[in-house]
């Protein structure tokens, strides 16, 4: 029955839609103008890529660098500087892709296929939560710490996808779609909608007031590739319309879900009081006076429910709309807006200009605002070789390199495309 549904779905998308290399990718700037810049027609395209993107509206690049890359001790001065950058609610996101994609063209249809490994993390958190995490709760003694609207999740998954694209009305319209089969790896997620934490002045108890939902697997590096902790499915949809001056593109990517199997979940909506781990046998000779204080022991002590259950999460679906036009043969401009269904992500508006410099080089400058961060600048370079190779690199690190303590966000995209 399941196979029939999948088959019907594939037939459906093969009739109506058209999948292709996603419109984010810079290679499209060349491929859309292949006739004018001398790229011959091709039957098969193979693209290998790696993307890393990290951004925040508050955490500085220097702070992130110490935390994730250099492992430097984060002293009070660094904390102070970053505290000044904090908003009432803060955002942080990481998106990492590695994959290989192919497009095979026939006279009637183009077929798209590929494998993508993605690590995704997003966080939406209050300034109080940051302070508690990096300075502790002592300064909150006798006060409520605001933990509202907290959403933190980090997970990885792999998708295997196939799709088709079809051109209509002599190429004026293009429709495409692909279906992905997804294998989930690691997952951790915390949500607290309307929650606060109170520390009794002398520390005799800590109250968590409100709701909490925390799910996690123990991190296992082998889960990224070998173990399957969840399964899911997604579809990608693509539409473009061409006129005399340019092309309007609209794409929906990763519209789908993963069902995580048997994940450990802590949940509750009440006032949870932690006033120490109860030691029953403190006077027993030969026993230890200090049991391990763990998340589980605290949850048990406070009455937070712990259970293993299946959990379905929606993928960070991307909605992307842009318009590409060419004022002349040597330039191409793109204006677009990109939105991702993820806590902490706001619509990202961007303006991109590509200069076709000759000798196969193309320089790409991009200004954007939004996403997980704020105003960002990216610079990219493409080079085609022998009319069948394209290499691309897009660096989002100018601010990281020039003023790391006062900027947020960095990333890098690289790709190699071979045309057959």
């Amino acid at each position: 029955m399941k196979s029939r549904v999948v088959l019907a779905f594939l037939l459906f998308i093969s009739f109506f839609s058209n999948a292709q290399i996603e419109i984010d990718k810079m290679e499209r700037l060349l491929l859309d103008k292949k006739d004018s810049i001398g790229i011959p027609s091709y039957k098969l395209l193979i693209n290998v890529y790696g993307d890393f993107y990290l951004n925040s509206n508050s955490l500085s690049n220097k702070f992130i660098s110490s935390l994730l890359y250099k492992g430097n001790f984060i002293d009070e001065e660094m904390k102070d500087k970053n505290t000044k950058r904090l908003k009432k609610y803060n955002r942080l996101g990481v998106d990492e892709h590695v994959g290989i994609q192919g497009v095979y063209s026939t006279s009637k249809l183009n077929y798209v296929f590929g494998i993508d490994q993605r690590v995704f993390a997003s966080a939406h958190f209050s300034d109080d939560l940051f302070e508690m995490v990096f300075r502790g709760n002592t300064s909150f003694a006798g006060k409520d710490a605001n933990l509202k609207k907290t959403s933190i999740q980090v997970y990885d998954y792999q998708s295997l996808y196939v799709g088709v694209q079809k051109q209509l009305k002599e190429g004026k319209y293009t429709l495409g779609a692909a279906a992905s089969f997804i294998r989930g790896g690691n997952y951790q997620g915390l949500k607290m909608k309307n929650t606060s934490m109170y520390t009794e002045p002398s520390g005799q108890y800590i109250d968590l007031n409100g709701d909490i939902n925390f799910s996690r697997y123990a991190y296992d590096s082998s889960a990224s590739a070998l173990k399957s902790r969840g399964k899911g499915a997604a579809i990608n949809l693509f539409f473009s319309m061409k006129n005399e001056k340019g092309r309007l593109n609209f794409e929906v990517r990763d519209l789908g879900f993963i069902t995580w199997k048997n994940i450990k979940t802590y949940s509750g909506d009440s006032t949870f009081r932690y006033d120490g781990i109860l030691i029953n046998d403190i006077l027993s000779t030969g026993t230890s006076i200090a049991s391990d204080i763990t998340v589980d022991s605290i949850a048990v002590e406070t009455g937070i429910d712990i259970e293993y259950k299946n959990k379905t999460t929606f993928l960070p679906t991307i909605f992307h709309l842009n318009y590409i036009f060419s004022p002349n043969k040597r330039h191409s401009r793109t204006i677009g807006v990109r939105y991702m269904l993820s806590p902490g992500y706001i619509p990202r508006v961007y303006l991109r200009e590509a200069d076709f410099l000759g000798k196969g080089f193309t320089l790409v400058n991009t200004f954007s605002y939004g996403g997980f961060g704020r105003l960002d600048y990216e610079i990219g370079l493409l080079k085609k070789f022998k009319n069948s190779f394209i290499i691309s690199a897009n660096l989002f690190a100018f601010e990281y390199l020039v003023m790391p303590a006062k900027s947020s966000g960095h990333g890098l995209n690289i790709g190699l495309t071979k045309l057959f």
Binding site: N137, T138, G286
Partner: protein, 701 residues
């Protein structure tokens, strides 16, 4: 990077989850100031004295601590051991029999013709020719033509019965059956051993009718030696002249020898199934001292070993049984085979059998004795179709012995036995954690309890009980009316099995309270226990189980109405959990919040020991830091008192704590108001909570 990403977001998740932390060593990534409760505990007397069987709640809700100290124990092993002497018996074969067998030898017409042809006499040759023609062509001949015959050394083969045999008793009969058409007027014969040529039997018959007529004679064989190959001399056969007869070559004169009722002294024979050895005997238990007389015993474990030697040149099928040893309704009986011995040699075999679970009647074969069991053995041979040599001189030598017989139950008279318990010293654990100070109980009840698990009456005499406090070098000798006198002990009852509890009051008119108030850690005792002081009054109805015992206990009941003055309790606990060893805490202040419901002030000291047992640091509260709960006019606690003890721990001390494997806790108690006996009630409790205000390190993965 991915791992670090997970680390970052895990830390965000987990720290936001009430301050729980990563536990990794190496360098810290950042520090946080945590203010959090760590552990808490609430202790009532039920928690302080873990074994609640030690606590007795009185009618006024006050508490009495009960302690039982076992002084000595007598088990069944010290009363009864089951051993048997090696039981050996050599049994010769007591009978060898042969069944009745017959062997027939035929003298046919063809044989007669052949013998006539061999004589060389022309007349005999003519007669032979005439007879052969008459037989071949069915021509009647006149019987007067048949000559008188004589046959010497006619072989009689009885080797199918034996090759040779020395007959003890028996009979040999000979039957002559005349199947010839002519009657016989005279038949004379003599039977001999072929080799020895001695005559075994001779006889003369005067008339044997023709066509199946027969005659017989018999001979007593007692004491005779027979060979398997015999010969018969037929000295005369005279036929009667009765006219014409038809003869045939296969017509015969049959001589049948039958041996019957034969018993043998020895023989090389084919023997039928028969018992060749039998023996029955009684075996007495040895080593039962002090007049123990058992009528039955059930074996919990042990082995029965049987060692057999045989000179018989045939397999002996051997059965050993103890009819009075019953298990599951079946007597102990084992069957096995002893292989045939080679000529002139001895076959040897050892058999081992599990004897556990058998109940043995020890009253002998006729149920008229004690400590004795009856056993039988039977040796058999079975028909094999082969001749073997057996003699009544052959023997089966058997040794039977038991190994590690351990009874699970015995019954009978367990004798008059005296067991001295001590003089000996035993440790007393009740006050083992008291390091210093004084503790005075208002009143103490002291009992000596004899728990008798044996079904035998007895008596006990307490010669001496002395208490020692080795810490203070003080001692007290117990005095009172029950010291030095014989006290009767009742016996356990069976079906159902219930131990008899005999309690002797050692408190009344004694110095028991003073004895306990020295807080003894050693007890020196000397007690004598006797069984059946009045003899076999139970008429062999004493019993004992293997699991049974007779124990002497010192029972102490201490109603918690006491005065404590600077009483220091000390205990050592492990301090090596992974939480501690993760070394996340750099320094901090640890506060112990105490809500004390006991009318005792207290102070706390903690000594930290490293793996070598050296004290490397300590934390101490001020004297009386834990305030006593206030009491009313009836000296009863009205409410809990609250106290807070703070311990500052700098980085140096924290490092010492990380190197700690054990912590010695010393708590000093003083009852308040002082010099007043204060009762401890069941609902008293003390609550502890430890809060850490800590500089806490988040480590790298």
């Amino acid at each position: 990077m991915k791992i670090k990403l997970y680390l970052l977001l895990s830390i965000l998740v987990i720290l936001s989850f009430l301050g729980s932390c990563r536990r990794n060593s190496q360098d810290p990534l950042w520090n946080v100031d945590l203010l959090t409760p760590l552990v808490k505990a609430s202790l009532s007397m039920n928690n302080i004295i873990k074994d609640t069987s030690f606590i007795k709640k009185n009618s006024d809700n006050s508490i009495t601590v009960v302690s039982r100290q076992e002084l000595a124990k007598i088990t069944l092993d010290s009363l009864v051991t089951l051993t048997t002497p090696p039981f050996s018996n050599t049994v010769k074969l007591n009978s060898l029999v042969l069944d009745t067998r017959s062997v027939t030898t035929k003298i046919t017409v063809a044989l007669i013709i052949s013998e006539l042809e061999k004589t060389g006499d022309p007349n005999d040759a003519n007669t032979a020719l005439l007879l052969r023609a008459a037989a071949m062509y069915n021509i009647p001949i006149n019987s007067s033509l048949l000559p008188g015959l004589k046959f010497l050394n006619v072989p009689i083969d009885i080797t199918q019965i034996f090759s040779n045999a020395q007959i003890a008793t028996g009979n040999l009969s000979i039957t002559i059956t005349n199947n010839l058409p002519v009657s016989i007027d005279l038949f004379e014969f003599n039977l001999k051993n072929k080799v020895a040529q001695n005559s075994i039997m001779s006889s003369t018959f005067n008339s044997i009718p023709a066509n199946g007529g027969s005659v017989n004679a018999s001979q007593n064989l007692a004491g005779m030696y027979l060979e398997g190959d015999l010969v018969a001399d037929i000295d005369t056969i005279n036929f009667n002249s009765t006219g014409n007869v038809y003869i045939q070559l296969d017509q015969s004169l049959d001589i049948t020898l039958t041996v019957s009722g034969v018993t043998l002294t020895s023989a090389n024979a084919v023997f039928p199934d028969q018992d060749v050895a039998q023996n029955s005997d009684e075996v007495s238990l040895v080593g039962l001292a002090n007049g123990v007389e058992l009528t039955s015993a059930t074996i919990e474990s042990g082995l029965m070993k049987v060692e057999v030697y045989s000179t018989a040149q045939d397999k002996i099928y051997f059965t050993y049984s103890v009819p009075s040893a019953i298990k599951g309704g079946q007597p102990f009986e084992v069957e096995t085979i002893i292989p045939a011995a080679l000529p002139g040699q001895t076959a040897h075999k050892i058999f081992t059998y599990d004897f556990s679970g058998y109940t043995m009647d020890l009253t002998g074969e006729n149920n008229d004795t004690v400590n004795t069991f009856f056993n039988t053995l039977v040796g058999k041979i079975k028909y094999s179709g082969k001749k073997v040599y057996l003699s009544l001189a052959d023997s089966i030598s058997i040794s039977i012995f038991t190994e590690n017989l351990k009874p699970s139950y015995v019954k009978g008279y367990l004798g008059q036995q005296t067991e001295d318990l001590g003089p000996a010293i035993t440790s007393l654990d009740i006050f083992k954690n008291i390091e210093s100070g004084t503790l005075n109980f208002e009143k103490v009840n002291l009992n000596l309890t004899i728990e008798n698990g044996f079904g035998v009456d007895g008596s006990v005499q307490i010669n001496n009980i002395t208490a020692y406090n080795t810490r203070t070098s003080s001692s007290q000798v117990l005095t009172g009316p029950n010291i030095g006198v014989l006290l009767p002990i009742t016996k356990a009852t069976d079906n159902p099995y219930v131990n008899a509890i005999n309690t002797f009051d050692m408190s009344t008119s004694s110095n028991a309270t003073n004895l306990i108030n020295i807080l003894p850690d050693k007890i020196n005792y000397s007690i004598q226990v006797k069984t059946n002081p009045a003899g076999n009054l139970n008429t062999y109805n004493d019993f004992a189980y293997g699991k049974g015992f007779l124990s002497a206990f010192l029972d102490v009941e201490m109603p918690l109405s006491l005065i404590a003055s600077k009483l220091v309790l000390s205990d050592t606990v492990d301090f090596n959990t992974t939480t501690i060893k993760s070394k996340n805490v750099q320094s901090g202040t640890f506060s112990v919040f105490v809500n004390n419901g006991f009318p005792l002030s207290a102070s706390l000291k903690m000594y930290f020991m490293n793996a070598n047992g050296m004290i490397i640091d300590s934390l101490k509260s001020s004297n009386g830091a834990i305030l006593p709960a206030p009491v009313n006019g009836a000296n009863k606690v009205t409410e809990k008192s609250s106290s807070q003890i703070k311990f500052g721990v700098d980085e140096y001390r924290m490092n010492n704590i990380y190197n700690t494997e054990k912590v010695i806790f010393k708590i000093e108690f003083t009852t308040e108001p002082s010099s007043t006996f204060l009762k401890i009630y069941n609902d008293y409790s003390i609550d502890f909570k430890m809060v850490g205000d800590m500089d806490y390190a988040i480590h790298k993965k």
